[in-house]
């Protein structure tokens, strides 16, 4: 992990802080739309290094947070079937649905297993042929290719008891929707991992249509400070454009192979985002060719009626119009150990990041 040290160099960070301070004359708000950025910004205490003119706000960058309650409710319903094993990334098991969570179902005896990759879920499927293995696919262009790879591998290996329950989403429609809705921001800190897959072209419409810059950023303090400086310079010079700060990981054209895999398995479809509602073509739906691996087409369950938590303003927080501290529940009724809204559950969630690092 030595390669990381130079990106955590204090002298360099302080020098960038100085440059930002010198360059910034206008009051601006920059939004990050990647949970990894939200966490890194809070973890390294970046806001304390910025002048008063630069405010950072968090957008809908945490996959767990934007996922609908009805997705959780359906996952809970799957978990209640005796013939189903749920496999999921860890964060999701704690998200409260309308009346239960996967964590609660697990305690009651449901077979819910945390995995670190879809390939682990495939292994579970291989060893439990009589069960239906449902993998909960959440996340953006970052995790979606691995879900695609998992399905392709299941197909090749003839694993027929493996199903993806997809809530995969793509980022650009949400970034556009936020500006359309009138959320006041002056530039985007572009998501590093998403862009490593997609390349830069998915953001071209943002400077063109809305006159806002996007700088694709890495996750270390030097990366973030450099990105902020690049955005400040764009704004001060009235020169909005798409730039890549995270050049060591992001190529302009992205990862073509992953894009092909994504396109092979998924097609665009409308999807619901917490805080933003239904956004056209913002979801990744499993294509007909792979319908045999789509849990929604193969496993029937009855899902309980949807109840949204009262008083929770996760939606406004995800749109960047409110901060966690504006929520009545924040830190009181809603804490990481007893979360009401999804933003408090995930380690990438805005509320949890604020709760842990900035209360």
């Amino acid at each position: 992990m030595k390669y990381i040290d130079e990106y955590r160099d204090k002298a360099m960070v302080l020098k960038l802080a100085e440059e930002i301070k010198k360059a910034s004359t206008r009051q601006i708000k920059l939004m990050e739309v990647c949970g990894g950025h939200t966490m890194a910004i809070q973890k390294f205490g970046i806001p304390y290094l910025l002048p008063e003119t630069v405010e950072l706000i968090s957008g809908p960058g945490c996959p767990v947070c934007v996922t609908s309650n009805s997705f959780i409710d359906k996952a809970v319903a799957y978990s209640r079937r005796d013939d189903v094993i749920i496999t999921t990334y860890g964060d999701l098991i704690r998200v409260p649905g309308s009346s239960s969570s996967l964590e609660r179902e697990k305690a009651k005896g449901a077979d819910v297993r945390i995995v670190y990759s879809i390939m682990d879920a495939l292994e579970i499927a291989r060893h439990n042929r009589r069960k239906k293995i449902v993998f909960l696919g959440i996340g953006f262009e970052t995790t979606a290719p691995s879900s695609a790879a998992g399905i392709i591998k299941a197909q090749m290996a003839g694993i027929r008891n493996f199903y993806l329950y997809s809530a995969h989403k793509v980022m650009p429609p949400a970034m556009e929707a936020l500006i359309d809705e009138g959320v006041e921001i002056n530039g985007y800190i572009g998501p590093g991992h998403v862009s490593a897959i997609t390349g830069e072209s998915i953001y071209f419409s943002i400077p063109k249509k809305f006159g806002l810059g996007v700088v694709i950023s890495g996750f270390e303090p030097v990366d973030l400070m450099q990105t902020i400086l690049m955005l400040v310079n764009q704004i001060e010079n009235n020169d909005p454009k798409v730039e890549i700060q995270y050049t060591r990981a992001v190529k302009p054209e992205g990862n073509i192979k992953a894009q092909q895999m994504l396109d092979e398995v998924f097609g665009p479809g409308d999807d619901w985002w917490r805080g933003l509602g239904v956004l056209k073509n913002s979801g990744l739906k499993i294509r007909e060719t792979y319908a045999a691996f789509d849990s929604e087409k193969n496993i029937e369950v009855e899902v309980e009626p949807l109840i949204e938590p009262k008083g929770c303003i996760c939606g406004d927080i995800l749109r960047g119009v409110k901060k966690p501290k504006d929520c009545k529940l924040f830190g009181k009724a809603c804490t990481p150990s007893n979360p009401v809204g999804s933003c408090m559950v995930s380690s990438e969630g805005t509320c949890q990041a604020y709760y842990l690092y900035n209360r």
Binding site: R8, V13, Q42, G45, Y48, N358
Partner: protein
């Protein structure tokens, strides 16, 4: 027929012949000492101190064996450390085993041998115990509970509550953080990670004793186990008329631990340790205590990591490695299940 001692059977916990055989061959043999030899229902103990410290802890780590230790070593060191950080001198330990039928005898034997060895290192004796065997699936391999008793001097009675902590006091830790939690995680088969990480699991009582001998300025100690350094710091400040300032640059995290934390998305501040003590000490004694700790093998990278402040009362703040600031809160929920 297979040897009755290949595998632990339900009968080994029945209280009958098999139980007696197991006790004779294993527990009585390895834990042997005059108190245990009496084989009475209660251990009869002598202590010359007017105050005793008494603690208990259960151990359910998965896997049982990990680089740097096993559940047996944890079970002794964990309880020894709970006594030692209260300012007590650990003396007597109880050990109770809940075993899942089917556990390989040789695994249990290794665990018991390790416990005996660790108890000897720590200078404590195991004076009473119990064994139960439960049906397959009713527990996971083996769970161990240990309790411990230690004598404590009058002048050290304030250490466990930290009632004498004042702004200006310094905060010390005896080395790197996160090693135990990540060693256990790396040892789990389902993760498929190869990392060169050793658990820091160790009995710290001798090192702590040396520090207490050398200074009367130790105002508080706590071992940073589950919840890690971050949780302990947050607990120290919680609801108190003082705050804590920590300098992240001075907190040592080994490279492999850091790498694995990055990979899995953990913050080393909240990863468990089993051989780390956090001390709050009078400023004038701080350097001397660090030097004393450094002379002990378990304190080689001891460091002064921060101080008690009059500002931001009730909260612990971190000056980050890049010059930013953030709050240190308690670990909420479970970062890692079953690491001790």
């Amino acid at each position: 027929m297979k040897n009755q001692f290949d595998t632990i059977l339900l009968g080994h916990g029945s209280g009958g012949k098999l139980t007696h055989d197991l006790i004779d061959r294993l527990f009585a043999k390895y834990f042997d000492n005059p108190v245990l030899r009496q084989q009475s229902d209660s251990a009869l103990l002598k202590t010359e101190s007017s105050h005793i410290a008494y603690t208990t802890d259960s151990f359910v780590v998965d896997p049982l064996f990990f680089p740097g230790g096993n559940i047996g070593k944890l079970a002794i060191a964990g309880t020894v450390n709970d006594l030692a950080v209260s300012g007590a001198t650990p003396q007597y330990i109880s050990a109770a085993f809940i075993i899942e039928e089917g556990l390989a005898y040789k695994e249990l034997k290794t665990i018991v041998e390790t416990m005996a060895e660790e108890a000897q290192k720590a200078g404590v004796i195991i004076v009473t115990g119990d064994t139960k065997v439960v049906d397959k699936g009713k527990c996971d391999k083996v769970f161990i509970n240990t309790s411990g008793i230690g004598k404590i001097r009058e002048k050290h009675l304030g250490i466990s509550s930290g009632r004498d902590i004042r702004p200006g006091d310094k905060i010390i830790i005896n080395g790197s953080i996160g090693d135990h939690g990540m060693a256990v995680m790396a040892a789990r088969n389902d993760l498929n990670i190869t990392a060169n990480i050793q658990s820091d699991c160790a009995s710290l009582n001798h090192m702590i004793h040396e520090a207490l001998q050398n200074s009367d300025g130790i105002k508080f100690m706590r071992d940073a186990t589950r919840g890690g350094l971050g949780t302990v710091l947050s607990e120290i400040a919680s609801d108190k008329p003082f705050g804590i300032q920590i300098n992240e640059e001075n907190v040592v995290v080994n490279n492999d631990v850091r790498g694995m934390c990055e990979l899995l998305g953990f913050d080393p501040l909240y990863v468990a340790n089993e051989g780390k003590v956090i001390m709050v000490v009078a400023a004038e004694d701080a350097e001397r205590i660090v030097e004393t700790l450094k002379k002990n093998p378990f304190g080689k990278s001891a460091a002064l990591i921060g101080e008690i402040t009059g500002q931001h009362q009730g909260k612990a703040w971190l000056d980050t490695i890049v010059g930013g600031k953030r709050i240190i809160d308690m670990l909420s929920g479970q970062q890692l299940p079953r690491i001790c």
